[in-house]
């Protein structure tokens, strides 16, 4: 029982990480209908720059804003060089475009900062914490991560209430409406991608300091996709809950089902879980139902 809880909590904590990446996807999808496959690459990208700056001797508090700038610049570049030219294309084309972007960032980041694994320590406590008189062990780091994720979420929810936030939701509904809000579409996209960039940065930092900054992060980030299917592409809470479910689900599966398959199932379990889920509820946990009109 205790062991189960420990695994469960561990899984939930891991899930938080997925949620962080998924959040980025959702933000962009909600605002621009673009399925941003590059979110994972953005996580690595952010992490690379962050750790890179620190290695250059900058303090965390200097590196952070700098990296934020980088991510904003990136958002601007993406809008300028990619989105702007694909405005009226079908979603699937944009999706493929983001795959391209993903590759580009991947290559770009690494050709600047190299591809070897880097340790990242932003001073988060890593000592274990024992609950239920020692039966359950939790990494303090995971708690912190959860904390950060939580606060980020709160921030986002608050942001949604601001005029810009409302504008963003207007865009999600339809682009004409966006114009009426008074903020040009391009600007809105830059904003959204910047925010997604920040989220990516947070995720990157968290993951970087947990597993070290390395290209593998990208493929880890792919885990956010099943999360989206579970939570629905357009729901922030969905992203969080989905993340938790996936995280917990795959840990538990690894421990309790894995052995029958000789382990290593967590790199696909999430997908199969999501896939099964799709068949029952295509629009995801929190996604709205789509009525097709003729």
């Amino acid at each position: 029982m205790a062991f189960f809880l420990e695994v469960l909590i561990g899984g939930l904590m891991a899930g938080v990480m997925y949620s962080l990446v998924a959040l980025g996807f959702v933000l962009i999808f909600k605002a621009s209908g673009v399925f941003n496959f590059a979110q994972g690459a953005m996580v690595l990208f952010a992490a690379l720059f962050f750790v890179g700056f620190i290695e250059l001797g900058l303090s965390v508090w200097l590196a952070l804003p700098l990296t934020v700038l980088v991510m904003v610049a990136l958002a601007w570049a993406v809008e300028r060089l990619v989105l702007r030219h694909l405005v009226n294309q079908e979603g699937i084309i944009l999706f493929m475009a983001t795959i391209g972007v993903s590759y580009f960032l991947d290559g770009f980041g690494q050709s600047i900062w190299g591809s070897n694994v880097r340790q990242l320590d932003i001073g988060l406590p890593t000592d274990p914490i024992f609950l239920m008189d020692g039966d359950i062990l939790i990494q303090a780091f995971d708690l912190w991560a959860a904390l950060v994720a939580g606060s980020l979420l709160v921030a986002l929810v608050l942001f949604q209430r601001t005029s810009v936030g409302r504008a963003l939701r207007a865009v999600a509904d339809d682009h004409q409406a966006a114009q009426s809000v008074g903020i040009p579409l391009n600007t809105i996209w830059i904003i959204v991608w910047s925010i997604a960039g920040l989220v990516a940065l947070v995720a990157g930092v968290m993951w970087g300091s947990k597993l070290g900054v390395q290209p593998a992060i990208v493929s880890l980030a792919l885990k956010a996709l099943p999360v989206l299917i579970l939570g629905g592409f357009t729901s922030i809470p969905g992203a969080i809950i989905g993340g938790l479910i996936i995280g917990a689900g795959e840990k538990l599966a690894e421990i309790y089902i894995g052995p029958f398959f000789g382990g290593g199932i967590e790199n696909w379990f999430a997908y199969v879980l999501a896939l099964g889920f799709l068949l029952i509820r295509p629009q995801g946990l929190f996604g709205e139902r789509i009525i097709e009109r003729v």
Partner: protein, 354 residues
Amino acid sequence: MLYRESGQFKTSYPADQAIFTIKQDRWFFALLMLAAFVGIPLVATDYLYTALIIPFLCMALAALGLNILTGYCGQVSLGTGAFMGVGAVAAWNLAFRVPELNLLVVLVLAGLVAAAVGVIFGLPSLRIKGFYLAVATLAAQFFLPWLFTKVGWFTNHNSSGVITVPRMTLFGWEINTPMEKYLFALGVVTILALAAKNLVRSNPGRRWMAIRDMDIAAEIIGIRPIVAKLSAFAVSSFFIGIAGALYLFVYLGSAEPDGFNINLSFQALFMIIIGGLGSILGSFLGAFFILLVPIFLTRVPPLIGLDMSTAAIAHTEVMVFGALIVFFLIVEPHGLARLWQIAKEKLRIWPFPY
């Protein structure tokens, strides 16, 4: 400019529906085939075969398969690598466990196995569309290679998990040298490409394109989505499976099942984006282009006197791919095939602009 179509009128539907309706095109294609079957074997070096030509054939076939699914039926898939893996593993097991089986039979059976698996993973397409489906196919991409590594039977419990191809013979013809392998692959690919062309210009093709262009209308004229989509998955996977088998048999020779990973999937996807969605020709052009880029990147920088570390080259390669994709999607979403088509049109109405 080179066309002299006037006087080439059609007095029957078969003539009017032929693949190449213009005499000049038929000549051109005939020359191309001549070059492929006779010319290349005369000039190509072993390096050329192994580094470019053979992988080109295999990947072109894979791209062709993916194009049927994505380009013609509009269903995005990121599972190409995995389905190639299915084909490869199936073919290897067949060849290994039933040695007396004819090589062609092996390929076909491997393709059928892949097709079956494809259909299974295609099931979600009945409920979900677009990105959802793309994600769903990732499940296949991660699950299948894992399966092959975990379940020893697939690799005959080989400790290293590596499968090595037994020596190949076709009707007593020993296929050893790169050239022989090339000719074999070429034969297979040619036949399959023709089959693909036939499919897309008759019922199945129209069914797929109808679903792609407007699935609602398609259903209302009596096309059953389940049939259309699953047949697309089946045919696509069949091609990809055979491509995978070739990839292992004539290109790699020996491989680990999880070598058929997501990068392969993306490579195939890039090939059809750059080559041209919904075009048989495009699949080949795209494959050629994508495979040329790395060779280009490794060869050219030294020539212009700057030496890049292998890592640097690898990274630039990835970057270039990314940039190319975005570039093509923006500039010519229909890829090289469309450029080719435009050029051809220009020649046909030369000297007029329209």
